[in-house]
Symmetry: C2
Subunit: 195 residues, 2 copies
């Protein structure tokens, strides 16, 4: 009795994410978005409600992407610390060539938005916290495998990693020499607060 053929929602969100990730919230217009996801305004507003709705879906998709990648690295590696190090190298180094922006989209959003967009800001903050919690979980696992001393507080170490990643990614955008960054990542787990 009705028409069912719809666009590929997942593909649409992926394209929207790539555009928002590159340009940020304010610099991305609905017309930019329409072109990037190949949908007319009516369809976008029927599916997402507003520009904010698309951005929110993008933030959630981006966070899911990161968490999935971390899981995959954990499966591929025999060591939780190696998985963490691989993740950090990927987001800090590899993302410079492959990703829409070398910045973390969540950190970029937290940096860009003010309390004028409380919900979007909250989504970004919560997503960052989710990633941090996943870090902590891997650190607990590493402690069980004696890769990290059991006296350390996993949440504290996870927070430390988040801070390092954010700092490193912003710095990566200011510099074209990855040498020092790779060295810093390699040494991350060899000193305080990990050792």
């Amino acid at each position: 009795m009705s028409k069912k053929a719809k666009f590929d929602r997942q593909q649409v969100i992926e394209n929207a994410t790539n555009l928002y990730w590159e340009k940020g919230y304010h610099a991305t217009s609905m017309r930019n978005l329409q072109d990037a996801i190949d949908l007319r305004p009516g369809s976008i507003y029927a599916e997402f409600g507003s520009k904010d709705g698309v951005f929110k879906a993008s933030l959630e998709h981006y966070a899911e992407l990161g968490l999935t990648e971390l899981e995959n690295l954990r499966i591929q590696s025999s060591s939780p610390v190696e998985a963490l190090k691989g993740f950090i190298k990927q987001v800090v180094i590899d993302s410079q060539n492959e990703a829409p922006s070398c910045m973390c989209m969540l950190a970029k959003t937290v940096a860009e938005l003010t309390d004028d967009q409380p919900e979007l800001l909250s989504v970004a903050k919560n997503a960052l916290k989710s990633v941090e919690n996943q870090f902590a979980q891997l650190i607990v696992e590493a402690q069980k495998k004696k890769e990290i001393g059991k006296s350390k507080d996993p949440q504290e170490l996870a927070r430390f990693l988040q801070i390092q990643i954010t700092g490193l990614r912003v710095y990566a955008k200011t510099s074209d020499d990855n040498g020092p960054l790779e060295k810093m990542i390699d040494e991350l787990f060899d000193h305080h607060p990990f050792q």
Copy 2:
């Protein structure tokens, strides 16, 4: 033969800086700016040429503000390391209550802008590098005073500090508990790569 009474350029730039610092480049409109600095479009364009011109002047003023603050802290303190630590505590902790944004305006700009604004991006990057160089200079001084081992590379330590500050300031925006951050700052100079 002519009219000379002009607005206070320094005050105008200061007001513009505070607005741009809070809202970022794209979210700040020329009308927002007109209200904040109490000037009509004609005067603004006569003095700064464009929205980008005002932003550039703001970036430069912001950088100057930071460098001056660092100098003042150095004069007030007998120790270069104490000056550095004081600077970091101020920008990470105190700025949450006092400043237009707890974010570093330069890092925020680097995070927000793309190659669509190459000149503004370059100004922000260069300003960050200037601050980093100032850090390095204080570290050299600290080495002379035996506060830091002379085998350490000042530029490497300065870069490390920049990365820590950026990471800490973004994290501060996601969290309302400063305890862990203050502890991290206090311990910054007690471990690798400083010791």
